[in-house]
Amino acid sequence: MREMEKTERKARKLLVASLGVATLSYVSAGQGCAPVANLVAGPGGLSDADTNGHPNARPDVPIANLVPPPFDVRRDFPVANLVAPPIDVRSEVIDTPSDVSTEDAADAPTDAADDNPPDVPPNRP
């Protein structure tokens, strides 16, 4: 019998949480977890119509930055000149699994600059 090849892949951390620091809980109250320093209003006092009958569901829509920390407003700061890094195609191929196409990035959303709001400059030259 052929020995199974070792295929394990270990992911690296992108976001690491510091436990106990400015804790936010999005778990419904009454589930053993009181909200601590909860910046976003919890789902207390909601009807089934709000949550479609799900006891723990959050009826709000997920919008980033719904809750603004205090900050001043200025409009005159220069925008960073962002340049896309070069892509090393050779190294891309070297550790690509043999069952996956290497042409899958051909449809990268390069059209992003076309739908800019008028006051947002493109981030690539």
């Binding site: 209003a41 959050r58 809750v67 205090p70 690509t96 990268a108």
Partner: protein, 280 residues
């Protein structure tokens, strides 16, 4: 009642910890090639040591929460995408929506890395089974799609356009400004998508269906208004120079003004113009 999962320890907090990973190697390179703007951000230019400890923690919390909200948005747009397939929406409309999950994933990474630049994420506990409200599965596919798209796009994403743009204007340091600029650019398309969908779908729906969509919009608007009430009650109108670069967010009073304007002009008005009855 469903109990959120927690670790085996009886003293462990309820819910799961919000942390993120990258698989790396070829998988990451493929992702980077699809969205090169992530690595092109001016990472490493923010001197977190110059920010007072309290302000830094507030900034870490704000950006971690932003990553979590974008994570939820990714789930929401993915659920809507599935519904578009189920109701056999026009292929080009589905194609337009198929870009949104990747956009949101990029936003998740940008916000998470901003938190890490400031010293690391803060603790967020959540229940992964209840990140969004699913529509009633007894609804027909088109109304199921409409229910989600009205809530996630016609209210949520449409509302976010002027708010995110205002936040982008508020940002001074190149890093948060570049991150917010990227998000603003993507959300512009998300904010108009919901109404494109409605213009296709509404002729196929009857009066009762429109009333259902109105109720879906109402419940979302009310939930957001509750959040705004919380902001209003806890707002801090004192300008704190030390916080500015780290947060890059709008000041609360201005945010509330813009939010109320946006709710009327970007959400209620276009929904009513399409015959969606609203009471919120």
């Amino acid at each position: 009642m469903t109990t959120p999962r927690s670790s085996p320890s009886t003293n462990a907090p309820a819910g799961e910890l919000f942390e993120l990973e990258l698989l790396g190697q070829g998988t990451e390179r493929r992702y980077r090639r699809a969205r090169p703007e992530v690595e092109a951000m001016p990472w490493g230019t923010l001197d977190a040591d110059k920010i007072p400890a309290d302000a830094r923690i507030a900034a870490r919390r704000a950006w971690t929460a932003a990553a979590f909200q974008e994570h939820r948005t990714g789930l929401a747009v993915s659920a809507a995408l599935r519904a578009l397939f189920e109701c056999r929406a026009p292929v080009d409309l589905i194609a337009m929506a198929s870009r949104f999950p990747l956009d949101e994933l990029v936003h998740v990474e940008l916000c998470a890395r901003m938190a890490m630049e400031l010293g690391g994420g803060t603790e967020i506990r959540h229940d992964p089974d209840f990140l969004i409200v699913d529509p009633d599965d007894r609804l027909p596919p088109l109304l199921r799609a409409g229910d989600m798209i009205v809530r996630f796009f016609c209210v949520g994403e449409a509302l976010s356009i002027p708010l995110l743009r205002g936040t982008w204007h508020a940002a001074r340091h190149p890093l948060p400004r570049a991150i917010l600029g990227r998000i603003v650019r993507d959300e512009a398309m998300h904010g108009t998508f919901g109404f494109i969908f409605l213009d296709w779908a509404l002729p196929k729906l009857d009066e009762k269906d429109r009333e259902h969509l109105g109720r879906a919009a109402d419940s979302t608007i009310r939930a957001i208004q509750r959040q705004w009430n919380d902001v209003r009650a806890n707002r801090n109108d004192a300008y704190d120079e030390s916080v500015g670069d780290a947060l890059g967010w709008m000041q609360s009073d201005l945010y509330l003004v813009r939010a109320a304007e946006a709710m009327e002009s970007r959400v209620r008005k276009p929904l009513r113009a399409r015959g969606i009855p609203l009471s919120a």
